[in-house]
């Protein structure tokens, strides 16, 4: 069974698909109105970024799926914000937008950032940010403008990053995706 990559409108959804393929796994791109039934057949789910906002847009079956997930989920950018918002965290429009290069400082590698250097460059493209994580999550990294660049709840196998591990300009991005795929 494939890893479902939910396209929430990111420019990089197909790049995620390519990265998953390059790591030897089969990925399948689905739209964000994917049915609960199809979601439940996945071995893992990756939620892409996207131009909309978690407080304004309709995410169909995704919130219920995140709440009851039995498979590992990785949220990227908007996907990261959707996990936080759905599980009781807080997402607001940040004071400063972040576009392009950002310096990520790892506070606690956890599972997702295991084996990464303490600081690395990552590519970001967002305005909204997670200002309060849901209960049970651990913040793994921050940048100058954003307090939660990555978070995880190992027990629930939920992982997420505000930056984009799938793009070439993010250092060690492939390692992050590999860490996630090890959970599958």
């Amino acid at each position: 069974m494939p890893i479902l990559i939910v396209d929430m409108g990111s420019q990089y959804t197909h790049v995620i698909w390519r990265a998953v393929r390059d790591l030897g796994k089969e990925g399948k791109i689905v739209q964000k109105d994917v049915s609960a039934k199809e979601l439940s057949s996945a071995t893992a789910v990756i939620l892409s970024g996207g131009p909309s906002s978690v407080t304004k847009d309709n995410f169909h079956s995704l919130p219920a799926f995140i709440k009851g997930a039995k498979v590992p989920i990785l949220g990227i950018c908007l996907g990261h914000q959707l996990i936080a918002h759905t599980l009781g965290g807080k997402v607001v429009k940040g004071k400063n937008a972040e576009y392009g290069l950002s310096k990520i400082e790892v506070d606690k590698p956890g599972v997702l950032l295991a084996g990464l250097p303490r600081t690395f460059s990552a590519w970001v493209s967002h305005f909204d940010e997670v200002v309060k994580m849901p209960a049970g999550f651990v913040s793994l990294a921050h940048s100058d403008t954003c307090s939660t660049e990555a978070m995880e709840n190992v027990k629930l196998r939920l992982f997420s990053t505000q930056f984009h591990p799938e793009v070439w300009h993010t250092e060690n991005g492939e390692k992050i995706l590999e860490n996630f795929l090890k959970q599958v």
């Binding site: 396209d7 929430m8 409108g9 990111s10 420019q11 990089y12 959804t13 197909h14 790049v15 390519r18 393929r21 390059d22 030897g24 739209q31 964000k32 996207g50 131009p51 909309s52 576009y99 392009g100 290069l101 590519w123 493209s125 984009h164 793009v167 070439w168 300009h169």
Partner: protein, 318 residues
């Protein structure tokens, strides 16, 4: 299970044959690595049932038609060149909105190809569309960043069925396929060139005179950068070019006031075009480029270097 060019070549030749069947096809070749690879794959799949066409829009690089024809001839692709520059310039006259320009160019391309298809009795149009083209053209919940002329710029009604053998590939993968097909480095390592050509490097309205300025400027940037790469002073950027702004600024030439165009030089690093950062070119190289442009092109009075990454900018200006 990294990308395998042999498997890809085998599968796409099969799939082109299955799609086109016994019919004929016409392929749009720009001389870039994408369309060249698509042309070689199509020629291998369809033999004499494919017509390879290069449309000179008047917004191509310096000497492009002649160079591309010679390069591809060495790889067994017979190219016919159609000079459609007056059609393109007349339809673009007075248009400055970037998306409108791209749509006009897409439509003009199709008109030329439909005419060509009639002559050759082709039912299919093959294009070297790659993943970033359709990704950036929007669809689903994806915003339209720019309408690539081979996707979003295409008119909805088209008398030809579209075949896109490279749609799931990125540039670095196309280059691997090009090398596996035996294409020479001058094609496989060629820097990307946008489908609408120099039209997206002329901010604002387009005239043949402006196209000439930007063509010369791109040529100077290419010459100087490639020479620096050959001397091993810099690594080869992903893309490097000049773009013309509609703004004039004041200068002084030989003690006389001048009021001339502003030109932007851009060079970026990337793997796949999806993200990019501006190249840190040495000041001496920037100096040579700026001096040559302002001395060799009378209409340009000021040269800027673009220091924006993607995101938030894109590689090209429009």
């Amino acid at each position: 299970m990294a990308f395998s060019p042999e498997k890809f070549i085998f599968q796409s030749i099969d799939s082109i044959r299955a799609t086109v069947g016994r019919e004929r096809a016409v392929i749009a070749v720009s001389g870039g690595v994408d369309s060249s690879v698509a042309a070689v794959l199509s020629s291998r799949a369809l033999g004499r049932r494919i017509a390879c066409v290069f449309v000179d829009t008047g917004m191509m690089r310096k000497d492009e038609a002649r160079k591309v024809k010679a390069m591809l001839a060495r790889s067994g692709v017979r190219l016919s060149v159609i000079d459609a520059s007056s059609l393109f310039f007349s339809r673009l006259k007075g248009v400055s909105e970037p998306e409108k320009k791209r749509k006009i160019i897409g439509k003009a391309f199709i008109d030329v190809f439909e005419k060509e298809a009639k002559k050759t009795k082709a039912k299919f149009l093959i294009q070297g569309t790659i993943a970033p083209d359709w990704i950036e053209s929007g669809g689903g919940s994806r915003d339209t960043i720019k309408s690539h002329h081979n996707v979003g710029g295409l008119p909805k009604k088209m008398g030809l069925a579209l075949v896109e053998p490279l749609r799931d590939l990125y540039k670095h993968e196309v280059r691997i396929v090009a090398a596996a097909l035996g294409l020479p480095p001058e094609i496989s390592q060629r820097q990307p060139f946008p489908g609408p050509g120099l039209a997206v490097r002329i901010v604002g309205d387009i005239t043949p005179a402006k196209a000439e300025i930007v063509r010369e400027a791109c040529h100077i940037v290419e010459e100087e950068l490639e020479a620096a790469v050959a001397r091993k002073e810099i690594e080869k950027p992903w893309q490097y070019f000049a773009a013309l702004l509609p703004t004039k600024t004041v200068g002084v030439r030989g003690d006389e006031r001048a009021y001339q165009y502003t030109l932007v030089v851009r060079a970026v690093r990337s793997l796949d075009g999806m993200t990019a950062n501006f190249s840190h070119l040495p000041p001496a190289l920037l100096q040579r480029i700026s001096t040559r442009i302002t001395n060799e092109i009378r209409e340009v009075g000021r040269v800027l270097y673009d220091i924006t990454n993607k995101p938030p900018a894109t590689v090209e200006l429009e």
